[in-house]
């Protein structure tokens, strides 16, 4: 990069002035002429046979235009797709509306199209469905036990897929072990709860054979392809637009029933249609995250050396696969080595169908699970061997010179210096002082806990998933940047502009970043897996580089000098030795647009595009330290201090990185302390609204102390790794570790999440504190 005026600077989000003033344009803000409204009748049963559906009264309701059921759509719309290349994968037919049977509460059964949103909702209550309730299975381990209710009759064992992998001498490791440390771990189901729920508007113009679908999605280009398949249209006739999107956290990295259903309705009815998801639908019928129950065991030497590891996990799939459902549990498997040297690892995943909404990617998508497993395990090993948590981690870190570091799960970590992040975090937290304070307070019957998590994660999806970028300098000198990434809160309208501004030597105000419209951006994949900057940003960087070199050619033509005689500095191409003879790229663009003669083979447009597909993933890492105080009498947990040192390689905009960390840590501690989607044994959802599904609140968080180390990746020319999920990945085990540490005097070695006051109180009541904790 020529000069770094903008990259690395703490620049405020250019997105915010409009969003803060309510000038954003979300799907539900769209009002098209003649637009109709859709409401969906959803299953009240976890598992039931549909005996009959009577839509007559709904059809006759004034203002109702159409009522559709699954049976009518069977031959009209293809099934909801899933992508995974696992030969054991079983894919049940997943229709946009249920046909004979419902398999989870919230599954769509019928849909009403009406002149108004209220009318559509009223008519839903007029549809009569006769169900024969069936026994449901909610617990994924039970689902895999003989005798369980069967969800899809073709697979009586409820097994959705099976995946295993062994590398290294695992059996041998356990034979040679001084000790085997085991722990059962539950990763509870979570609801992503983006502030903006999902929403779809679809319009079909039969004259131009043009289907336009506005969706609150992370992946407009992938969605376009899938919708074309489901509706049997050529891709070129489908345009998907993701307008402003109010958060997603993976929940909009998907192809949902409503997206295809509304597209079909728009084509069928010849009028635009809109559906805006209600929050209660969002909790029932938007994907959930996590949902794994596993048992880990480690073969260890007395000195803390880890010889090998086994992890057997049952993944709770839900009733059907969504787009990436089967990809998540193996991801957990691949990241099990954490940031440690473990020569032998065996993983077995068994995925179970259950009568619940599908699980899929939720912020971290498999890595929070892996990090939780390995970090909880490290704490347990420390407890069992009597080795301090910090010392044990240090001992097992690979050294910086060992990178690229190959794991026994088949990955090659690109770059890392785990020691440095740990040291910095310990110093910032005042770790030794905290330990002394903890000791003193315990004597007075107060329970401080210090939790540590040293994580590594995998980002920049990355190989196999390229991204596209285009940079265009217009006739007036304004620059348009087009990206196939589809940011929805990450702030790339700011960071991408920073990259281009430095490349072209221009000001941010002259750059507009455009994304989220397949009709404007030629191709793309989307924003997920912390990839937008590390893959999409690189494509833009490369495109900008091409534009700069094109400008050099034009400048050489305009100045009538050899291209080699030009120097680019401070935003200008100048003739060597004649600094007054200089033009900015914007001036060159203006002249090129009006030039009478151009060099042979050159284009008037000063524009270039590029795709980038990384050769490897990137592996950000860091250390999080959490200080809590636990009150045994009530089970209350107060977070008193939180230190995060994260290394995401080169940083484009520290403000955006801090923002990602703040939100990420909040979500991670939400899992540790508060959140859980709870179904009862019949499949009724007990946390069906935000009155019962407990999110973290601003007041639950202390001011975070955020710091960084910077270890660039060699995988891409920007040296950036990705930061969208690190906060969530690093924080959950740190918080759990802190609470468990606080309760050490009570003999507590592990508690399953969420660590609610009731659970903590009960544990403390059962186990009196050890003498060290007693009042002196």
């Amino acid at each position: 990069m020529p000069i770094s005026k903008f990259v690395g600077a703490r620049i405020k989000r250019r997105e915010d002035p409009a969003l803060i003033r309510g000038l954003g344009q979300y799907v539900d803000d769209l009002k098209l002429p003649e637009m109709l409204h859709v409401a969906i009748l959803r299953s009240p049963h976890g598992h039931a046979q549909i005996k009959s559906i009577d839509t007559a009264a709904a059809r006759q309701h004034p203002g109702v235009v159409a009522v559709v059921t699954g049976a009518e759509l069977r031959d009209q719309i293809g099934t909801i797709p899933t992508t995974a290349d696992n030969p054991t994968l079983r894919i049940p037919k997943h229709y946009v509306l249920a046909i004979d049977k419902v398999c989870y509460v919230g599954e769509g059964v019928a849909a009403v199209v009406a002149e108004g949103r209220y009318t559509a909702r009223d008519a839903i209550d007029l549809i009569q469905v006769e169900y024969d309730a069936l026994p449901a299975v909610i617990d994924p381990e039970k689902a895999l036990t003989p005798g369980s209710p069967v969800i899809h009759s073709e697979w009586p064992d409820n097994l959705a897929f099976h995946w295993e992998q062994t590398q290294g001498e695992v059996e041998n490791a356990f034979k040679q072990a001084d000790k085997v440390v085991r722990q059962k771990l539950v990763h509870q189901r979570l609801a992503p709860i983006a502030i903006e729920t999902r929403g779809v508007v679809a319009r079909y113009r039969s004259a131009g054979k043009e289907l336009t679908v506005w969706s609150s999605t992370q992946i407009p280009h992938l969605l376009k392809t899938h919708l074309a398949n489901m509706l049997r249209l050529p891709e070129e006739q489908v345009r998907v637009i993701a307008p402003d999107v109010g958060g997603a956290f993976g929940s909009k990295l998907n192809v949902y029933a409503e997206e295809a259903l509304l597209a079909w309705m728009a084509m069928k009815l010849g009028r635009p249609v809109k559906w805006a998801e209600e929050r209660s639908e969002n909790i029932r019928a938007t994907i959930h995250g996590r949902g794994q129950v596993g048992e880990v065991e480690a073969a260890v030497k007395k000195d803390g050396t880890i010889l090998g590891l086994r992890y057997k996990v049952v993944a709770d799939i839900g009733a059907y696969h969504q787009l990436f459902t089967p990809a998540i549990p193996p991801f957990t498997g691949l990241m099990l080595s954490g940031c440690y040297r473990i020569p032998a690892i065996a993983i077995e995943v068994r995925a179970a169908f259950t009568n619940k909404m599908s699980t899929d990617a939720y912020r971290g998508a498999g890595r929070p699970e892996a990090t939780y497993v390995i970090e909880r395990l490290m704490d347990r090993i420390g407890q069992e061997l009597g080795i301090d948590a910090v010392k044990l981690r240090r001992k097992n870190f690979p050294q910086p010179k060992e990178f690229p570091f190959k794991t026994a799960t088949g990955l090659a970590y690109d770059s890392g210096n785990y020691q440095r992040a740990l040291d910095k975090a310990l110093q910032l937290a005042g770790y030794d002082k905290l330990r002394r304070e903890q000791k003193q307070l315990r004597r007075r019957g107060r329970y401080l806990g210090i939790g540590l998590s040293t994580y590594v994660e995998i980002c920049a999806m990355g190989p196999g998933f390229w991204e596209y970028g285009k940079v265009e300098v217009g006739a007036s000198g304004l620059v348009k940047v087009f990206s196939g990434a589809s940011p929805h809160g990450q702030g790339q309208k700011t960071s991408f502009a920073q990259i281009v501004a430095d490349q072209l030597g221009i000001e941010l105000d002259d750059i507009e970043v455009i994304h989220g419209d397949t009709g404007i951006v030629a191709k793309g994949i989307g924003t997920f897996g912390s990839r937008a900057t590390a893959v999409g940003g690189v494509a833009i960087y490369q495109a900008a580089e091409k534009v700069r070199e094109k400008a050099r050619d034009l400048a050489s033509h305009l100045f009538e000098v050899d291209a080699d005689d030009l120097v680019f500095s401070e935003g200008r191409f100048a003739v060597k030795g004649v600094p007054r003879k200089a033009l900015t790229i914007q001036q060159i663009a203006r002249q090129a647009h009006s030039a009478k003669t151009l060099p042979e083979g050159s284009e008037i447009n000063l524009s270039a595009d590029s795709t980038f597909e990384p050769a490897n993933f990137t592996f950000p890492f860091g250390t999080h330290i959490c200080l809590v105080e636990v009150e045994p009498a009530t089970g209350n947990v107060e977070i008193k201090k939180y230190v995060a040192v994260d290394d995401c390689g080169k940083v484009i905009n520290p403000l955006l990185v801090d923002g990602q960390l703040q939100g990420g840590v909040a979500q991670g501690l939400g899992q540790a302390l508060y959140e859980e989607v709870v179904y009862d044994e019949n499949g009724q959802i007990l946390t069906g609204s935000l009155m019962d599904y407990a999110l973290p609140r601003a007041a639950n968080l202390p001011r975070l102390q955020l710091a960084r180390t910077e270890t660039p990746t060699p995988v891409n020319p920007l040296g950036v790794k990705g930061i969208g999920e690190a906060g969530t990945i690093g924080s959950t085990p740190a918080v759990v570790s802190a609470v468990v540490d606080a309760l050490a005097p009570f003999g507590v070695t592990h508690i399953d999440m969420p660590l609610t006051p009731q659970k903590i109180w009960r544990l403390c009541r059962e186990k009196k504190p050890a003498p060290a904790g007693r009042r002196q």
Binding site: S280, T634, M691, L695
Partner: protein
């Protein structure tokens, strides 16, 4: 989150509201701050034919003194109570309770009368009004009547207000010398409602003896209640730590505690004992300081 169709009126006077309610009876619902009613409407758990919006009746809003008592209009918002200088001086338990309600948005819209009339068994106000031995004025087609706080709450979402009556005012005593109040609450993380909340209003003698005490408990049972037995143990005695502990330990005796996803009955009863002790301790300490 789309309610069923309903009619809407917003009368400007209390008389007009009373007439409208009398005309429509149980088909009508009164709308105060809407913090409980609107979610019920949106989830279609309530489908009234008519909403009578009370917000234009200015006589229902305000905080003042009358005949040696504090009078609070039923439509006064939680925030108005939280920030009232008069109440901070003359009945600090009310601002303290208001602060514990929901979040800023809820406190800006929600009203004391709306909350009391809704009678959620986990709401905060009932505990405070019971502890203060407040009085609730209601108006119906046959005129006005007053109910004691204890007469008022009958069960979950059920009060002694007749279907044709409107809650108009809440009366509480002005704090005297050596009296104080305290509200201690453990909030349910999602809803902000009390898993358990205990309000205490106490008056002590110069020697630290408990002269009068009121203890209101919310969240524990299917309605907020006064802990008479605990009060009995304390009244006439010096409020020393051991007596407070022993007395508070009986707060759940004879009560059938609620049970839900967030706290089972055993944990709720335990929390009630812990928070009762804390609230009594707090109130006694403050009263001791306010000579």
């Amino acid at each position: 989150m789309i309610p069923a169709a309903f009619d809407y009126i917003a009368p400007e006077t209390l008389d007009a509201a009373v007439r409208a309610l009398a005309a429509h009876g149980e088909d009508a619902k009164l709308l105060a701050g809407g913090q409980s009613l609107l979610p019920l409407l949106k989830l279609r758990l309530a489908q009234p034919k008519l909403l009578i919006d009370l917000s234009r009746i200015s006589a229902l809003t305000g905080i003042g003194r009358q005949d040696g008592k504090i009078v609070i209009g039923a439509l006064t918002t939680h925030y108005q109570i939280e920030s009232s200088e008069l109440l901070k001086k003359q009945c600090p338990l009310l601002p303290q309770t208001a602060r514990a309600i929901g979040d800023v948005q809820v406190r800006n819209r929600g009203t004391i009368g709306g909350s009391l009339g809704h009678a959620d068994p986990a709401a905060d106000w009932p505990a405070a009004i019971l502890a203060l031995r407040g009085e609730l004025k209601v108006r119906g087609p046959n005129g006005e009547r007053a109910l004691s706080a204890e007469e008022f709450f009958l069960g979950p979402m059920t009060t002694a207000i007749e279907p044709t009556e409107i809650l108009t005012e809440i009366h509480v005593p002005i704090a005297s010398r050596r009296s104080a109040g305290a509200y201690q609450k453990i909030a349910q993380q999602a809803s902000g409602f009390a898993i358990v909340g205990v309000a205490v209003s106490v008056k002590i003698t110069a020697k630290g003896v408990c002269e009068e005490i009121g203890i209101g408990v919310t969240g524990l049972a299917d309605k907020a209640f006064r802990a008479h037995a605990v009060e009995e143990r304390l009244r006439g005695n010096k409020l020393v730590a051991s007596l407070i502990e022993e007395s508070a330990a009986t707060v759940a005796d004879g009560v059938d505690p609620l049970e839900d996803l967030h706290a089972d009955s055993e944990f709720r009863a335990h929390l009630a004992r812990v928070y009762a002790a804390r609230a009594i301790r707090d109130a006694a300490k403050t009263a001791g300081r306010s000579r």
